[in-house]
Each structure stands twice: as C-alpha cells, then as structure tokens.
C-alpha cells in the first residue's frame, strides 16, 4: 500500500486576534511577529489516519506532499517525524499563489507522477482559507471516488471504509481504491513525535519537484492559473458597538440584559 498525505503550512490559527493583521494593499496576512507557521491542524489528523492504517496492517509506505515555499519543509518534516517515509516539496516560482483549483491540479500531477498511490489523505480544510475543496478536486482530477469529513478510516479487501460525520450522526461509506479521503477532528489528536523520531526525520528524503518536473504548463498553475481571483482581503467589522449593561449591581445588569433582549425581540 502506498498512501499520500497532503500537508499545508499555514499561519498559526492560535494567533491571538490582537496580533492578526492584514496588508490590505497586497491582500495578504502579515505574519505575526514571533509566531511560527504550523502544519494545518487537519493535515496532522490526515497523517494520523494514514499512520494508523499502516500500523494496523504492519506494512505500507506514506509519502507526504506539500505545495508551498521553502519554509513548508517544516510541515513535511513534522509528518515525517510522525512516521511518514518520504517527503516531496512542490516548490517553484510558477507554483506560488494560486487557488484551490491550481493547488489540486498541482497535487494531482504529483500523485500521477508517483504512479502507484492507493489512497490520498487530506485534512477536511486548510485552517487558513477554510475552503475544503482540494481533496475533492484531487479526486475529480484523478478520476477517483472520495469521502469527506471522516472520523475513522479502515482499509479492507481493497476497499476503503470511511466513517463520515453527518449533522445528526455518522455514516459508513465503502469506496473502491484508489480513493481520496478528507479527515476531520473527530478522528482525535495527531501523535506527538518523540525527540528520537524528530532526529530520524531529519535524515529522511525530501524531494523537490518543479512545475516542469510535473509537466505542468506554468500558465495553468500558481497565480496565473487561478480561477478565483482574490480581490480583497479584510478584517470584517464585527458585530461591534457592544452595549455593556451599566447597572450598579450584577442583579441590575442581569435584569437590564433580559429586558434589552426582550425589547430587541431576541428572547
């Protein structure tokens, strides 16, 4: 079995709101000083799901792929430290920027180049743009079936059994391999690599592929190929204008709040 885990490096979503800044001229998030980027939380869970299957089966290879800049090596190394075997960084000026479409297209080309992949594990969404479409896009481009927002994944007799999270429960879906699955937080926290594993990961191979290596025309990937053009990134005006209950005592404030909610027809 050969599994691919897709991993993205993102600004730390735990960044305090007061440190979250946007460069509106360039539609970019300004990295918060002193806060390092991290592996997108759901991608760590995707790695966890793949590792559990390999461990249960006692065999299998996991390749972690990241599309990003040089710094994304850290996200790859983290998944390697968790137990993945090899890494691939898709890094090239032509591949930078872009949208979910170009990301899926680039990752699909890498998976096709690997050639022998049985299943792809993605996070349910990247915790920066929160789109949640790269896994499905990959599946569509590769011509594979998929299931999303999984809390458990098993592989039995050449089929993937995915327990999907629904609004009112769970559903188990069987998919023929090869297939794509996206993992949700219900799977549980990803393992925390031990020091020895981190040291071992430093020696694992990380290959680097460019648009040319992938046979991709630069006009179809990165910013040039994007289909959703980001026009404006901004910090929204929150509900704001908070009205603080100004009664003298907690009792008065509580009564004031109840009355205000009734008058506003909220309660």
């Amino acid at each position: 079995m050969h599994f691919v885990v897709c991993a993205k490096q993102i600004p730390d979503p735990e960044t305090p709101p007061s440190a979250f800044r946007i460069d509106e001229a360039n539609n970019e998030v300004i990295p918060a000083p002193g806060i390092s980027p991290v592996l997108s939380q759901f991608d760590g869970m995707a790695a966890e799901a793949a590792l559990r299957i390999v461990e249960a089966a006692g065999e299998g290879k996991i390749t972690v792929i990241s599309l990003g800049q040089e710094s994304a090596q850290a996200a790859i190394k983290q998944v390697l430290a968790m137990g993945a075997d090899e890494g691939i960084l898709l890094e090239d000026d032509a591949l930078q920027g872009g949208d979910s479409y170009t990301t899926a297209r680039t990752l699909a080309a890498a998976i096709e180049k690997l050639g022998d992949v049985d299943a792809v594990f993605c996070g349910r969404q990247a915790a920066d743009w929160d789109m949640g479409q790269v896994g499905l896009g990959l599946a569509e481009l590769l011509g594979w079936p998929s299931a999303i927002i999984a809390k458990d994944v098993q592989i039995e007799n050449g089929a993937m059994h995915v327990q999907r999270v629904l609004a009112d429960g769970f559903e188990t879906v069987a998919l023929p391999l090869p297939a794509v699955v996206t993992i949700s937080n219900e799977i549980g926290d990803p393992r925390y690599p031990k020091l020895q594993q981190i040291m071992r990961a430093a020696r694992k191979t990380v290959n680097r592929w460019s648009a040319e290596d992938l046979g991709l025309d630069p006009s179809t990937v990165g910013d040039a190929g994007a289909r959703l053009k980001l026009e404006r990134l901004f910090i929204p005006e929150l509900g704001g204008d908070v009205e603080i209950m100004d009664g003298e005592s907690a009792e008065e404030q509580a009564q004031q709040l109840a009355t205000t909610l009734r008058e506003a027809k909220i309660l």
């Binding site: 600004p11 979503p13 735990e14 305090p16 709101p17 979250f20 998030v29 939380q41 979910s100 479409y101 915790a127 920066d128 743009w129 929160d130 789109m131 949640g132 499905l136 896009g137 481009l141 079936p145 998929s146 999303i148 927002i149 609004a167 429960g169 769970f170 559903e171 188990t172 879906v173 069987a174 998919l175 023929p176 937080n185 289909r227 959703l228 053009k229 980001l230 026009e231 404006r232 990134l233 901004f234 910090i235 929150l238 509900g239 204008d241 908070v242 009205e243 603080i244 907690a250 404030q253 509580a254 009564q255 709040l257 109840a258 205000t260 909610l261 009734r262 506003a264 909220i266 309660l267």
Partner: protein, 325 residues
Amino acid sequence: MARNILVIGELDGGALSSTTAELVGGASRLADGGQVSVTLTGGGAGGQTDAAFAAGADRAFVSDDATFDEFRSDQWVAAAEQAIEQSGPDVILIAQSIVGRDLGPRLAFRRDTAVAMDCVSIEDSGGAFKATRPCYGGNAQATYAFATSPAIATVRAKSQEPLDPPREGASGEVVELSGAGASRSEIVGREAAVAEGLQLQDAPVVVSGGRGLGAPEGFGLVEELAEAIGTDKAAVGSSRAACDLGWYPPSQQVGLTGKVVTPDLYIAIAISGASQHMAGCSGSKTIIAINKDPEANIFKAARYGIVGDYKEVLPPLIEAVKNLE
C-alpha cells in the same frame, strides 16, 4: 442584468429545507429578471414544487427517487449536471451543508469552473460575479471574482433572506430528472449521534461556557440558563479549552476544530474569544458576552455584554429570563 440561477435544493424530512428557501429567495434577487431554477431530489420531491415556486423559483427539476435521500456524490453530481445542461446557469448556489461541502467542489471541477465555499454574500458586478466569505477562522473575509463560468458558490445558512412574503400560489415549470444513476461509493452503515434532544447546530440559541468558569461545576449554571431559555430552543456549547480540561463533552465543542454554529443568539460565558473559538460562532446573528475581563476579545464581536463574574451574573439572569413573559 438578467441572469439565470440554478439552486441545488435539499429536502429536510421530505420538505423543502429552510436553507433552500433562503437560497431560492437570494437567487430571485440575484437573477434580476432572469430565470431561477431549483433541483428537488429525493422521496416526496414532487410534492415540494409549489413550496419552491412560492420561495421564488420559476422552474423545478424534480426526481422522486428516494435513493437521493442519502448523499452519494456521483448521483448528486449527475443530477446537477442534467439541470445545468437544461438551464444554462450563470450562477449555481448550493447550501454549505453535508451535501454542499462535497457536491460544490466535485461539480466545479467536473464542469471545469470554480467554486467559492461557505459564502456569506454573492453579488453581480455586471461583469464577473463576486463572492465574499469568511476565512482565517473568521478573523478575515475575502472577496473573490470568478474568472470562469458558471460561478458556483456554497452558501452559509441564514446568510440569505427567504422571500418575505412568499409568492403563495405561484406556479412554475416542472421538469423531470432521471432517477439516481451509478455510484462508486456505497453506504454500508449508519449510526445516530448519541446526543439527545436539540442538536448544537440546529439550536436557535447556543449558551457556551469556557475556561473562565474555573471549574466543571460552572457548567451547571450555563445549563440552567439554557433550560430557562427553553430546552426546545437552547443548546449548551463549550470552548475547546473547557473540553480539553474534561469539563464538558467534546461533542459540544464550538470552534474551528469543533462545531460551527450560526444561531440567532450566542451567549458566551467566561469565554475569552480566541480566534479558533470565534471561527465556530462568528456567524451568529447576535452574540452576548459575559466575562469579567473588559478587554476580552469576545466583547469585540458581541452586541451586548456584561462585565462581571458569571457566578454573580448568571443566577439573577436565569431568574430574569424565567420571568420574561
């Protein structure tokens, strides 16, 4: 400019879902005189065409095949493609639901176009369509222009208004869709959620407690407030910090890695308002914050607030709510 819009409808217990009515209402405004079509698939779909026309649709693509009651990507994509081919939409709207999260990207890649997920507004700029959506866990919003057509958007529940009043008695064209086709995926099991009563995502009011409660017993008062509002209206949520401490079940966690809720009213008690928590509740219509720290981030998102210790504020608030007639 007149535009053709296609809404991928969903049924809820055999009836037109409230989100579908919202999307059709939003579509009829966006269409600006163009045609609004809606797909209705699943058991009893044929009986919902009048509801769809009253909600603002001009044409309904219908299949009564109960196979559609369950979501299988391949079958829903094929049904949507039939409706697309017959209606030639400029825009396709889909709810940001269990169905839409899967169908939106699948359909966009199948039709060689693009989808913007979880949109809170869609506008026709005369040229390209534009969609605005929250990102970075609700810390930011992004507006995108679609470079390809049709523009596909999955839309957050309650972000569009249904027609008010509905067009009672309106009629429209009914087009039969073929039944569900082949599916590569097979549903082999189903399990209901263990939580009883009102589900967090369905509740019109969510009362949540955080680490500032100081001890798991604090959730007793949080639950009492929810009960005073009504067990049929209010559900209890928790911040991740409180769940991580084992004070409340993880199934009730609101936030980026928990449930995303969009109630009419969200009451945050002793919750600071970290980004990852706001990602789960910033779509609420009204937020109330009760926190002893006046600088807490939650007050920036709140409409009403009390600066004080929840132990002192909640008992009289519970009484005051009970006394509301």
